[in-house]
């Protein structure tokens, strides 16, 4: 065992250089931090000094470690990548700090926060390596537990996200299906009214059917608009008015009536869309049919204005027609609908003579209530 004696000689030499009076040597011998020194000048870099803390940590006796390379601390579950880092640091004479799984003499394991550093001789050559070992098993266990919990949480989040995505997909598909059915049914109702209107000859019945058809069309336009936009919660009133007016004027075929629009963009909650649309449809239809009775042969202008003033939306429909006093049957079901729906919308409507014609203004509270 020449190596052994060589290591013992090196150890003796080190001890002789740092005898009883050396406070640094005394500190290293007595500290609770495990520490070793290896001899870089011997082949395989054997241990030539180990303090009591190191022996206590690893369970070996001093004579079992002196003269051996520290790799005896490694075992089957030691990460080769960390071993490589140590090897590389030694080869390049650099400091290294690694957390590595080590084995005691009795085979039990501990996590070692190893710090290794080269020690240079007087000529600058690498003479020794100094290494300290700190048992960080508790810290590592907490880390591993934390990693486990994180993985479990991540898995739980991923599973929940998948569930939610699927639920959203189903909800979207359902929404499309319902939207489709509502639209088809509205179309069916319109067709029924149109078909019956073709059969009847009584002008009063025809007029009633026309009125109902307009109301259904207004609701249909609302529905088309709501699902065209990306936001199914909000309803763009001005866009609706453009569609409605285009459609009503197109089917009325009254080239003698001009329409003027002054529409600020306002959005209302989707739940208010249908009642508000019916109110506007009713008022516009009144202006068109009662303001300018076909038999009178006079045309004019209908104005629709929408804007926001303070906490109210202001919707104005004014015509230059014959005026309330002169119009035949301007009351009736249509105005009842307007009154009832205004009550529902917490809105108020004012009808005034416009000289010539009639002006109706609906004030709708922005946030659902009048202040």
């Amino acid at each position: 065992m020449t190596d052994m004696s060589q290591s013992e000689r090196a150890a003796d030499q080190l001890a002789a250089e740092h005898g009883a009076g050396d406070p640094f040597a005394a500190a290293i011998r007595a500290t609770r931090m495990a520490m070793i020194v290896t001899d870089a000048r011997q082949s395989d870099n054997p241990i030539i000094f180990a303090n009591d803390a190191f022996l206590a940590l690893t369970g070996y006796a001093r004579e079992e470690v002196i003269g051996r390379n520290c790799r005896f601390l490694q075992g089957p579950d030691t990460d080769p990548a960390q071993v490589d880092r140590i090897r590389k640091a030694i080869a390049e004479s650099e400091d290294v700090a690694v957390d590595i799984l080590n084995y005691r003499k009795d085979g039990t394991t501990f996590w070692n926060a190893l710090y290794l550093s080269p020690v240079r001789g007087k000529a600058g050559e690498i003479a020794y390596f100094f290494a300290s070992q700190l048992n960080v098993s508790d810290k590592k266990r907490v880390e591993f537990e934390r990693d486990d919990i994180r993985e479990q949480l991540e898995a739980a989040v991923a599973a929940r996200t998948a569930d939610l995505s699927q639920a959203l997909e189903q909800k979207t598909a359902l929404l499309h299906e319902v939207d489709h059915r509502v639209k088809n049914n509205l179309q069916l109702i319109s067709s029924l009214l149109l078909l019956q209107n073709r059969r009847v000859t009584d002008p009063a019945v025809k007029s009633s059917l026309r009125g109902m058809l307009e109301r259904v069309s207004a609701i249909a336009t609302v529905h088309r608009r709501l699902f065209q936009s990306d936001d199914v919660e909000r309803f763009d009133v001005s866009a609706f008015v453009r569609d409605l007016v285009g459609d009503m004027m197109g089917s009325a075929r009254r080239d003698d009536i001009k329409v003027r629009l002054d529409l600020e963009r306002i959005d209302v909650a989707a739940s208010k869309a249908a009642p508000l649309a019916l109110v506007i449809s009713e008022l516009f239809s009144n202006a068109l049919r009662h303001g300018f009775p076909p038999e009178s042969g006079t045309g004019g202008e209908i104005f629709v204005g929408i804007n926001r003033k303070d906490s109210e939306f202001r919707i104005e429909i004014a015509d230059t027609g014959v005026g309330v006093e002169n119009s035949a049957s301007s009351g009736g079901f249509g105005l009842t609908i307007v009154q009832l729906l205004c009550q529902q919308l917490k809105a108020r409507s004012e009808t005034t003579p416009a000289d010539p014609g009639t002006r109706v203004v609906v004030y709708l509270p922005v946030n659902g209530v009048h202040h």
């Binding site: 489709h180 088809n184 509205l186 319109s190 029924l192 058809l213 069309s217």
Partner: protein, 154 residues
Amino acid sequence: MYERPLDVLIVEDEVLLATELEFLLEEVGCHSVGLAMNSNEAVTMANDLRPDLALVDVHLQDGPTGVEVARTIHDKCGGVALFMTANVKRLPDDFAGACGVIGKPYSEHGVKSALSYLTICLREGQAPGLPPIGLTLAPAYAERWGVNVQPQAC
């Protein structure tokens, strides 16, 4: 090219809708050649009757087969299809060869304007302006008929 009235095939599984649509067609000077309620009937009638225009609902008696009907009419029957559906958002980007779509629920005036507009497009190969509200043209036909496809202000 179409000096006679436009021959129109209706492909729709709701008879009441189809019946009302026939009236509308006659009112704008088109000629309804028949009603098909499923995809087989539609393709057979398109082959036999060679309509100028086919109004095609996406959902027919045999399922959502209207898209394939439109494609077949375009590819094999030499006709032009126009979708009439409540499912505008689910149409393929190329409209399966159809010239456009009228979204349900449509209004009487909307359909009449669209049919009058398409009659001119088909007869003259040139659009008389922007399509009326309610009618959306397929990009290929908008280009063919010289329509400057810009999103309509709304």
